[in-house]
């Protein structure tokens, strides 16, 4: 599509010019709409039936046909107006429905299309905190940080660790399902099936059928602290999250710092490097302070209802240094606890000798946590497995 965009007029012969329409489809595709050849054909068919003298009926019809999600639905009108009313200024450009918070422009395939969903966060308090917000524990963190995972500097070592993490996540899921099945092997007769089978034998139950409760997949929601004090671990946990998302059938991931971002879609990017890049872009521009309480509040308000069900475990990975009020954190944890089956809090600092959860935030959150465990190296993550299997 070049810049030659004309306004659609009734004198176009009452027929939608196919070229114009294909251009519109391309703009939609560039904006992450799941439209392919099939949609183009149907769309053209609909457009040619529409009364071209009026634009609204065309808008209504195409909106129904071409949107596939709430995000599409919200952005469609803007894109439609820009394209059909534009005076050539719109090319295959990104139309941003969420100002600067839209996903990075490199995504062009359908895989990345869920990108804008993270923009539904109503922009809590995204203001940078400046120097004032720095955590009180930072200095001790720095002195202690001379151990464990943060050692890994050279690229080969890093890649090895990353592989291991992803493998671990997949093994965790495998173990989960297998154990579930063994535990629940109830030898109950499936009466419906027994009767069905016996019909073949004139009503005599020759072949019995048993009912085995099918293991239901556990859903895992990971909420990762990406603040400065955690930055040494962030890459490591991002890898872990990727492994989790790839291997659990139902998993969602969020990162927070001063506010919460839904990163599942970005993390599902096939290419690991790209995924990290996208995630870095999303998190870029944040500064100072960790608002765990506010981030959890945003989670409870905007996402909890849709991502948490009766068999969801929530895994929070954070050092618990909260610059917000501990009361907020406490209240939000209580709220979260009411919804989620289990809350696991992984604290990398717990692995350090002499660490006690004295951070105010940590103390506020602890009463609501089912498992508080260290996660400073791979062994500590692996040690979680038996616990997670019991969920």
């Amino acid at each position: 599509m070049t810049g030659a965009v004309a306004i659609l007029r009734p004198q176009d012969g009452g027929r939608m010019p196919a070229r114009r329409f294909v251009g519109f489809m391309r703009v939609l595709r560039d904006n992450g709409f799941p439209v392919g050849l099939r949609e183009t054909i149907d769309g053209l068919r609909v457009a040619r039936q529409a009364d071209l003298a009026r634009r609204e009926p065309l808008r209504w019809a195409l909106r129904s046909l071409l949107c596939a999600s709430r995000t599409d639905w919200r952005r469609f009108n803007e894109i439609f107006d820009l394209y059909w009313r534009g005076h050539g200024q719109l090319r295959a450009a990104q139309v941003s429905g969420h100002s600067s918070r839209t996903a990075p422009p490199e995504r062009s395939d359908s895989e990345g299309r869920a990108g804008p969903t993270f923009g539904t966060d109503p922009g809590q308090d995204a203001e940078a905190e400046g120097g004032e917000g720095r955590r009180s524990g930072a200095s001790s963190a720095e002195s202690l940080a001379a151990t464990d995972l943060r050692h890994i500097n050279d690229a080969g070592e890093l890649a090895r660790i990353n592989d291991l993490t992803e493998r671990l996540a997949s093994r965790m899921k495998y173990r989960l399902t297998r154990r579930e099945r063994q535990r629940r092997r109830g030898r109950r007769l499936d009466l419906r099936k027994v009767i069905h089978r016996s019909i073949r034998f004139g009503g005599t139950p020759m072949q019995l059928a048993y009912r085995m409760r099918w293991p239901k997949p556990l859903r895992l929601v990971v909420i990762l602290d990406a603040s400065g004090s955690m930055s040494l671990y962030s890459t490591f946990f991002v890898r872990f999250i990727r492994g989790v998302l790839d291997n659990f059938r139902e998993a969602e991931a969020f990162v927070f710092h001063t506010r919460l971002i839904h990163i599942s879609a970005a993390m599902r990017e096939r290419d690991t490097e790209k995924a990290l890049e996208r995630m870095a872009l999303m998190a870029a521009g944040w500064a100072g302070g960790t608002r765990i309480g506010d981030s959890l509040a945003a989670f409870n308000r905007n996402y909890a209802a849709s991502v948490i069900n009766s068999r969801t475990a929530v895994m929070i990975v954070s050092d618990g240094y909260d610059t917000g009020a501990p009361e907020i954190l406490n209240a939000e944890m209580a709220r979260l606890k009411r919804r989620a089956k289990r809350i696991v809090w992984l604290n990398p600092m717990l692995g350090w000798r002499d660490y006690a959860p004295v951070a105010q935030g940590m103390a506020a959150a602890l009463p609501h946590v089912d498992l508080f465990a260290p996660a400073h190296n791979l062994e500590s993550l692996a040690a979680l497995e038996p616990y997670l299997a019991k969920l």
């Binding site: 609909v46 009926p57 129904s64 046909l65 949107c67 639905w73 069905h196």
Partner: protein
């Protein structure tokens, strides 16, 4: 469908209005496209915005029967598609035992369509006249079922091992609703037309109240709607939907309330129609009720 019998947008709007459903042209267009393209309509929106109502109104518009399939976790083919009537089959076997028939004949008799219990999906495609099939809360069903449903919705045929393939005699108007407790597959989303239902604006909600509760006085209706609209702006766990507004308005009529500002006590007590968690009820004490009622007046 798609046989030139399709209703136009204006006609759909008119008929929706006649059955008490306040619709916008966007939704009416989607319904027209449902007929033209023979595609299902996927409706999303927050709980309580009236997604299910769309299917009911649609049944009235097409004067078609409504078949409802409520999805839940673990929904299987036995509950959604068909099941054999085992008891009757067993009885038939006993009765035919003494009869001098070949085994094949007996088998054919037992697996006759008479013994087939049709569940919603099978029922919907074997009717004489296209019904409206409401697949409610599809996000609650398992992914396997979603995939199966997608197959049925594209081929409109169901295969039954003992009987063969059943091909649709009528292609139903399919409405799916989702509360997005689970992300639906891209394939299903692309197969469907899409409509998102927002909580209504004040003017629209007022029209809905007037349409559904014809007996209500205009002044009270306006107050009720303004009150609920303001209440939705409070920090609540579960925002009251349109159904709640209607319940509450009906309750107030029943209590004989004429003006919201006059009886804050009764008002506060009747709020259980709107606020359905203990937490939300605690978040809206009587002072807040008075403030909102004052503004609504």
């Amino acid at each position: 469908m798609g046989t030139g019998m399709a209703l136009g947008r204006e006609e759909v709007l008119k008929r929706l209005g006649a059955v008490g459903y306040v619709a916008d042209p966007q939704l009416a267009t989607a319904i027209v496209l449902m007929q033209q393209l023979a595609r299902p309509l996927l409706i999303e929106g927050e709980a309580g915005v009236g997604k299910t109502e769309v299917a009911k109104a649609l049944a009235a518009v097409f004067a078609a029967p409504l078949i409802r399939l409520q999805c839940y976790e673990g929904l299987d083919a036995n509950a959604a598609v068909y099941e054999w009537d085992y008891q009757r089959q067993l009885l038939a076997i006993k009765i035919w035992e003494s009869e001098d028939r070949t085994a094949e004949e007996k088998e054919r008799h037992i697996f006759d369509e008479d013994f087939l219990l049709k569940r919603p999906l099978l029922k919907a495609i074997t009717m004489d006249k296209p019904p409206v099939l409401l697949v409610d809360e599809i996000d609650r069903a398992d992914e396997e079922f979603e995939a199966y449903l997608l197959e049925v919705l594209s081929d409109f045929q169901i295969s039954i091992p003992e009987l063969g393939t059943v091909t649709a005699t009528a292609i139903p108007y399919v409405v799916l609703t989702s509360n997005s407790t689970r992300e639906l597959s891209d394939a299903l989303r692309r197969r469907c037309l899409y409509h998102y239902v927002d909580l209504p604006s004040e003017a629209k909600e007022l029209r809905i109240v007037a349409a559904r509760l014809p007996g209500i006085e205009g002044a009270l209706a306006a107050q009720v709607v303004r009150f609920v609209q303001a209440l939705r702006k409070e920090d609540l766990r579960k925002k009251p939907g349109v159904a709640e507004t209607l319940d509450w308005a009906a309750a107030l009529m029943g209590l004989g309330v004429k003006d919201l500002r006059e009886e804050p006590e009764a008002l506060h007590e009747s709020l259980m129609c709107l606020l359905k968690t203990q937490e939300d009820q605690a978040a809206v004490p009587i002072e807040v009720v008075e403030r909102l009622a004052g503004k609504a007046g």
